[in-house]
C-alpha cells in the first residue's frame, strides 16, 4: 500500500487550509483601493482632443465614436490669420464593447485619454455603458497623478494635464 502516506498527507493539507484565515475581501461591504494605475475606466480631457481619430482607428473593438467639425479660432498673435481648429461634437466610448487594451490611451498624441482606476460603473441596461464626452470628462477628475520614476531615471516624469 504505497498510497497510504500520500493519502494521510492530503488530509493534512485540507486540515491546515481549513485553519488558515481567509484572505477574501467581502466586496460590497469592504472595498479595496485598486492600484493607482489600474485600468478601471478611460477618461477624456476634451480640450486636448484634436479629433485626429487615431484612437477610434486603432481601437480593436471599434468602440470609440467620434464626430467633430472645423471652425475658426482667433489668431495666437495680434494681426495674424485666424486659426483652423477641430471641435469635438461627440466622443463616446462603449464600455460594453471595450476590452480595456488601452491602445487608445497609448496612441493618443495630445494627452487627451487617460486611465482612471474607478471601476464601479456597471449598469442594469447595457445601453447605459455608452459613456459620452461629459461622462468621460467626469472620469478625468478621478485620474491619479503618475507615480515618480525610480531615482536617477533620465526620463522626465509625466504630468497629468489638469
Amino acid at each position: 500500500m504505497p498510497e497510504i502516506p500520500g493519502l494521510i498527507k492530503g488530509l493534512g493539507v485540507t486540515f491546515k487550509t481549513m485553519l488558515q484565515p481567509n484572505v477574501t475581501v467581502q466586496y460590497p461591504h469592504v472595498k479595496e483601493a485598486p492600484a493607482a494605475r489600474a485600468r478601471g475606466v478611460i477618461a477624456l480631457k476634451e480640450e486636448n482632443c484634436t479629433v485626429c481619430m487615431l484612437c477610434a482607428r486603432q481601437c480593436p473593438d471599434w468602440c470609440i465614436y467620434i464626430e467633430g467639425h472645423k471652425t475658426k479660432a482667433p489668431p495666437r498673435r495680434e494681426g495674424g490669420k485666424p486659426r483652423t481648429v477641430q471641435l469635438l461634437d461627440r466622443f463616446d466610448i462603449d464600455f460594453s464593447l471595450c476590452m480595456y487594451c488601452g491602445i487608445c490611451v497609448e496612441v493618443c498624441p495630445f494627452d487627451a485619454l487617460f486611465w482612471s482606476p474607478e471601476f464601479e460603473y456597471s449598469e442594469p441596461r447595457i445601453g447605459d455603458l455608452l459613456h459620452d464626452k461629459s461622462k468621460l470628462g467626469e472620469w478625468f477628475l478621478t485620474v491619479p497623478d503618475y507615480t515618480a520614476y525610480e531615482a536617477g531615471a533620465e526620463v522626465k516624469q509625466k504630468k497629468v494635464p489638469r
Partner: protein, 342 residues
C-alpha cells in the same frame, strides 16, 4: 416518549412522527451548514455563504425556498408514477433508520431487540429508490447512475454489516440500547472509569464502517454514481424542485443516520464518562451528547469527502471486494477468538 402523559395511540404516533422529523432535519440541516457550506469552503480557502443571515446561517432556508419555487419537470418518456415516488422512498428509508437510534435511556422511538440488524436492513432500502429513480427517468445517464449506485451500495453494504458484527460479538446483543449500555458498563483492563467505547477495541471496524458509510452516501471519493463529468448527475439528472430537494435531504439525513449509528456503535451513544447512564436527565442531555458525537463522525466523513478525488468504477469495486470484505472477516474472527479467550 410520552412524558407521563396518557395519549391515544394515534396521538403517540403523531408525536413520534414529529420527533423523527425533528431528529432527522436538525442534524441534516446542521451538517449542510457546518460541513457542506462552511468547512468545505474553509478547506478551499473560501468564505462560503455570508449574505443570508449572520455568516450565511440562513442560506439553507434560502436554498429550500429556491428549490420549492422551481418547476416540477417530468421527462416526456418517464414513468410518471415511479418517477414521482422514488425520492419519497429514498427519504422514507432514511427516516426509518432513525427509529431505532437511542438518544437517551427513554428517548428512543422504538427499542427493538434486533435494532442494528433493522437499521442496516432498512438503510439499504434506499437502493431500491435510487434504482427506481434511475430507471423511471428514461435517460441513459440516470440509468447508468442508478445501476452504478446499486452496484456500489450492495458492494459496500457487506463490509458495513461485517464491521458491525464485530461490535455485536463484543457487546453480545443486537439491541442498540444495550450496546450503549455494554460500552458504558465495560472496563478497559479492569479500569472502568471511561467505560469501554468500542472505537478502542474495534478500531478496524470503525474505519471500515466509516469507509463503507462514505460509499453508501455516494460521497467523494466514492461518488462514481453521480460523477458529473460523465453522468451529469447520475440518477438525479432529471429531478428538479421539490423532488431534487428530497434527494438532497435524503443524502444528508442518511449522513446523519450513519453518523448516529457510528456514534452509537463505537463512541458510546448518549453516554459520556462521569454521567449516569440511566438517570432521568440523560433524556435531555443524551440527545445533545449524541449530536456532538455525530458531529465528530460527520467531520471525519466530510473531511474525507472534501479531500480525496474520485475512485474509478473498477477501483471502487476492487476496494470493497478485495480489501474491505476480507479485512472485515479477519476482524470478526479476531474479535470472536478474543471474546472466547478473555
Amino acid at each position: 416518549m410520552t412524558f407521563g402523559l396518557h395519549l391515544a395511540y394515534w396521538e403517540q404516533s403523531l408525536v413520534r412522527v414529529l420527533f423523527v422529523l425533528v431528529a432527522v432535519l436538525i442534524p441534516a440541516g446542521t451538517f449542510v451548514y457546518v460541513f457542506l457550506f462552511k468547512m468545505m469552503s474553509f478547506m478551499q480557502s473560501r468564505l462560503g455563504p455570508m449574505e443570508a443571515g449572520p455568516y450565511g446561517s440562513l442560506q439553507l432556508l434560502a436554498e429550500v425556498g429556491k428549490s420549492l419555487q422551481k418547476e416540477d419537470i417530468f421527462p416526456e418518456r418517464a414513468d410518471r408514477h415511479l418517477f414521482a415516488f422514488a425520492p419519497y422512498l429514498v427519504v422514507g428509508a432514511v427516516l426509518l433508520v432513525y427509529v431505532v437510534i437511542p438518544f437517551g435511556p427513554d428517548a428512543y422511538f422504538a427499542n427493538l431487540d434486533t435494532g442494528i440488524f433493522y437499521a442496516l436492513a432498512v438503510s439499504s432500502v434506499s437502493v431500491i429508490g435510487i434504482l427506481i429513480a434511475g430507471w423511471s427517468s428514461a435517460n441513459k445517464y440516470s440509468l447508468m447512475g442508478g445501476l452504478r449506485a446499486a452496484g456500489q451500495l450492495i458492494a459496500y453494504e457487506l463490509p458495513m454489516v461485517l464491521a458491525v458484527v464485530g461490535v455485536v460479538i463484543q457487546a453480545g446483543t443486537l439491541n442498540l440500547k444495550n450496546i450503549v449500555g455494554a460500552q458504558a458498563n465495560g472496563s478497559m483492563f479492569g479500569f472502568s472509569g471511561l467505560g469501554n467505547p468500542y472505537i478502542l477495541t474495534q478500531i478496524i471496524g470503525f474505519g471500515l464502517f466509516l469507509l463503507a458509510s462514505q460509499a453508501e452516501l455516494t460521497q467523494a471519493p466514492f461518488d462514481m454514481p453521480v460523477a458529473e463529468s460523465e453522468l451529469v448527475s447520475g440518477y438525479m439528472t432529471e429531478y428538479s424542485g421539490l423532488r431534487f430537494l428530497l434527494f438532497f435531504i435524503g443524502e444528508f439525513a442518511s449522513a446523519g443516520a450513519f453518523a448516529a449509528l457510528a456514534a452509537t456503535l463505537y463512541l458510546g451513544g448518549w453516554w459520556l464518562p462521569g454521567l449516569d447512564l440511566n438517570a432521568n436527565y440523560m433524556n435531555v442531555v443524551g440527545p445533545l451528547v449524541v449530536l456532538a458525537k455525530m458531529m465528530v463522525v460527520a467531520f471525519l466523513i466530510f473531511w474525507f469527502r472534501f479531500t480525496y478525488p474520485r475512485f474509478r468504477e473498477d477501483q471502487l469495486q476492487t476496494l470493497a471486494w478485495k480489501y474491505l470484505i476480507p479485512l472485515a472477516l479477519v476482524n470478526i474472527m479476531a474479535t470472536a477468538i478474543l471474546k472466547v479467550v478473555f
